[in-house]
């Protein structure tokens, strides 16, 4: 099987994008001082998080697979993460 990149894999999934509301919010200061920023980049299977040239963490919330791993390892206060509003987000067809 041809190896696919994570973004290529995500194109196979079905998402209902919530254009009005992100369900993820990073506190840049705490993320930087606690190392949470780098940790959530490494642990997210969907590559939702990325480090920008200025050192801030950007969030591609549309790609989120809603596992909650980032929240589980984030330092207190570094991350606000809840489920997307009802009906939005990833919609598995296989599961």
């Amino acid at each position: 099987m041809r190896p696919l990149s994570v973004p290529e894999r995500l194109t196979k999934n079905r998402f209902n994008l919530d254009e009005q509301e992100s369900h993820i919010e990073v506190n840049q200061e705490i993320a930087r001082s606690t190392g949470t920023g780098k940790a959530i980049i490494a642990c997210c299977p969907a590559h939702v998080y990325a480090e920008e040239p200025d050192g801030t963490i950007s969030v591609e919330y549309a790609a989120c697979l809603e596992c909650g791993t980032c929240l589980a390892i984030a330092a207190p206060g570094a991350l606000k993460w809840h489920y997307p509003r009802g009906g939005f987000g990833v919609q598995f067809r296989e599961g």
């Binding site: 299977p45 596992c67 997307p84």
Partner: protein, 437 residues
């Protein structure tokens, strides 16, 4: 006295996974009015699992489960595979007795949970998909907080009992203080692809026929030494393939989880299984691996917690279980709720029979039996040295290089001498394993 305003339903269940659907089904069959709320567009659309369901429990709830439910294959072949970079040693266990009566099946949850929810609806439950419960409604009672319903957006719905079946992240149980944030060593992340392959190809590659299937568990190089493992499960015309890694170890070893998954898919002994396949879906899921330690308070005034939300998962090294425990806990909860409703007392004390029933059932008993498994599986040696020791011993036996042979025991001793493993490790891990598993 435990009840105030006339509620809209006897029971509101949050989350249409296996636990939520089984609880709903059992309660409506007992004549209760039940609202099942699901945040996904349709039941199943947020749900994902590795894929093996030990099915005896759910067959008791749905007698037509094996013939009517959208199951994939019945598992008759279980492999435990120690994987190294260039070698692999496996126990390959195939048994006709596992086919009849059926013991385990592979499932794809988006399909299965849709069926379960339809059974609930048929039996009389009201299902509300596409709605996220934001929090539970509570009132102050004589014994502290009491759950009286749920809030979803601007809507407030009231019930005599709320069932939190909202999955491993269990925001609801955390919100009311029943569950603390779990430490990363009790959690793992599973990453999975579903890869389509023709039915015939699957049967040839995995040496199965008809509706029989294989479950391959992999330990070792698949996770580059990070605590965890890989899996390959056969569906009807697709494979579920993934890795599960412990969060504390992933962070400590500074590995990128998607790299570990790529490494597994591209491994020389794994890639051939997937050759020619087409990716259908990519998903992930948080897994509770703390065993009994993670099961805390699961009952309060007006609410019970079931399934993953209650921390009910078990990794015994050989079997990885969650869905069967969800069934068992939901059945126990439904029994307890029904009796509590009969007595018109849904206090913590009355609903407490859920906990008693849970620990009297296979769920609680197995959680206790395997209470030592999580710390045993934290032993680092499991994820590299043992597989190499096995392969090096076998290499010594099979590599007939025209030098005179030595007895197998001597070969094994030499392999051990060259390994970072010491004899005391074997003794210690052997005893610990025998006790824990």
């Amino acid at each position: 006295m435990t009840e105030t305003a006339e509620p809209d339903f006897d029971v509101i269940v949050i989350g249409a996974g296996i636990a939520g659907c089984v609880a709903t089904y059992q309660l409506v069959r007992k004549g209760r009015s039940v609202l099942l709320i699901e945040r996904g567009e349709a039941p199943g659309s947020k749900n994902l699992s590795g894929g093996v369901l030990y099915s005896r429990g759910i067959q008791q709830v749905f007698p037509d489960f094996l013939t009517e439910a959208p199951i994939e294959r019945r598992i008759t072949r279980n492999c435990i595979n120690f994987l190294n970079a260039d070698s692999s040693v496996a126990i390959d266990y195939k048994d006709a007795r596992l086919a009849e009566p059926v013991n385990a099946v592979t499932v794809l949850r988006a399909k299965l949970d849709g069926w379960l929810a339809a059974k609930c609806e048929e039996a009389g439950a009201l299902i509300m998909p596409g709605v996220r419960v934001d929090r539970v409604l509570t009132e102050d009672g004589p014994d502290g907080k009491r759950v009286v319903g749920v809030r979803a957006g601007d809507d407030e719905l009231r019930a005599r009992v709320v069932v939190a079946a909202d999955g491993v992240n269990s925001f609801i149980a955390q919100e009311v203080g029943l569950r603390k944030k779990d430490p990363p060593r009790h959690l793992a992340v599973g990453v999975k692809s579903v890869v389509s392959l023709p039915r015939k190809t699957i049967e040839e590659r995995f040496n199965v026929t008809g509706d029989e299937g294989a479950a391959i568990a992999v330990i070792g190089d698949c996770t580059e030494g990070v605590g965890g493992g890989g899996f390959l499960y056969t569906n009807i015309d697709s494979l579920s393939v993934g890795v599960v890694v412990r969060l504390d170890d992933l962070t400590k070893k500074k590995k990128v989880v998607s790299d570990l998954f790529d490494h597994f898919l591209e491994h020389r002994f794994i890639a051939p299984y997937l050759e020619g396949g087409e990716l259908l879906e990519y998903g992930c899921h948080l897994v509770a691996e703390g065993g009994l330690d993670m099961v805390g308070e699961i009952v309060m005034d007006g609410m019970v917690v079931v399934g993953d939300a209650a921390g009910l998962t078990l990794n015994t090294g050989l079997t990885v279980r969650g869905m069967d425990l969800a069934v068992g806990s939901a059945a126990a909860a439904a029994d307890a709720i029904s009796s509590a409703l009969d007595q018109k007392d849904t206090s913590r004390a009355a609903l407490g029979t859920y906990r008693k029933k849970l620990f009297a059932s296979y769920v609680g008993k197995d959680m206790k039996t395997y209470a030592g498994a999580p710390s045993f599986l934290e032993v680092e040696r499991m994820y590299s040295e043992y597989g190499e020791l096995l392969a090096n011993t076998l290499y010594g036996a099979f590599n007939l290089d025209t030098r005179p042979r030595e007895h197998l025991l001597k070969v094994a001793r030499k392999s051990l001498a060259q390994s970072p493993l010491k004899r005391r490790h074997l003794v210690k891990d052997g005893i610990a394993g025998a006790r824990a598993l």
